[in-house]
């Protein structure tokens, strides 16, 4: 199973294996290039010796022989280097948390906490909406009360006005004067009847 070293990739911005592959390919290219360089230098040198018996083919065989040997060692040494670098340098120890992930240390059971918080917030929002509309209703009633109070006070003033009129025209106690008035008008009616009877 391949260890994707994703956490290392999160830190470095590349996967360690890619980094090593990049280095391997570059090193290998250099090995080949320098080998070809060696061979071309030798060929050039051989041009300088007319009686030289070495054919380019022979030289190529020598190159391949040396390269084969070098390549074997190169691969062995490189895989050792890769192992060491992947373990000691390009890796993030298990107990290490990257700075951007610190928050996971503070809130380990975040999924449950998140859900609970969302529920709580939802409930608070509901409560706030309820309070807000209750507040509106209360203020609306306050306004209404002002109007009603003004009306009721007007009625009371009206009664006061009534009483003031009574007081003004000598009828301090309305009930008595009303009784008095009723008696008076009754007396007047009797007198009227009397007069009518006499006049007949």
């Amino acid at each position: 199973s391949v260890n994707p070293m994703a956490y290392e990739a999160q830190f470095f911005g590349f996967t360690p294996q890619t980094c090593m592959l990049r280095v391997y390919i570059a090193f290998q290219d250099y090995l080949f290039e320098t080998m070809l360089l060696v061979e071309s230098v030798m060929l050039k040198k051989m041009d300088g010796f007319p009686d030289c018996k070495i054919s380019p083919f022979e030289l190529r065989k020598s190159t391949e022989k040396f390269l084969l040997f070098m390549k074997e060692h190169f691969d062995k040494l490189f895989s050792k280097m890769e192992e060491v670098l992947l373990q000691l340098v390009l890796n993030i120890p298990k107990n290490v948390l990257l700075p951007e992930d610190k928050v996971h240390e503070q809130y380990p059971d975040s999924k449950e906490q998140f859900q609970a918080l969302q529920d709580e917030i939802h409930q608070l929002q509901e409560q706030y909406r309820a309070e807000a509309s209750a507040g509106q209703a209360l203020r609306a009633e306050l306004e209404e009360q002002k109007v009603v109070q003004a009306e009721l006070e007007k009625i009371l003033q009206w009664f006061d006005g009534l009483e003031n009129i009574c007081r003004k025209y000598g009828t301090s106690n309305f009930k008595e004067s009303f009784t008095f008035l009723t008696q008076n008008s009754k007396k007047l009616q009797d007198m009227l009847k009397d007069v009518e009877k006499k006049s007949k």
Binding site: R22, V23, N95, V96, S110, F114, F159
Partner: protein, 156 residues
Amino acid sequence: GRAQVFATVVDTFLEKLVAAGSYQRFANCYRCFYRLQPEMTRSIYDQFIAQLQTSIKEEIQEVKNEGNLEALFNSLDKIVEEAKNQEEPAWRPSGIPEEDICSTVVPYLLKHKLYLQKVLKVKEEENRKVAESVLAGRDRIAELQQRIQARKHAWQ
């Protein structure tokens, strides 16, 4: 630190590679040329090794620059140093992003919750005061109605 280890490991690799490709080995492989020109062979070998080392060192430097490795190694050393008392394996991405994101948002949700609790309290206090005035207003209206009723009965 990591940078040091990295440099040491690469140098060791290079040393061992050069040791493996010894001059004896080289002369042995190029025996035909060696017999003709032993000094030439030696100088070509020395150039070969020098060129190989230079190329590999340049390559390593390039990889370091490209990946900004020096800085990354130093910063990783610091992060590891800070976690040295941490015994337990640390958190790692679960592979379920919508779950992992929770931790990032939770601290802000907590703040948001506190804010909502605060404004709710303010609102409740505000409403309590208004409710008091409403109740007082209701009492006042009841009292006015009573007085009106009394006056009305008196008149009646």
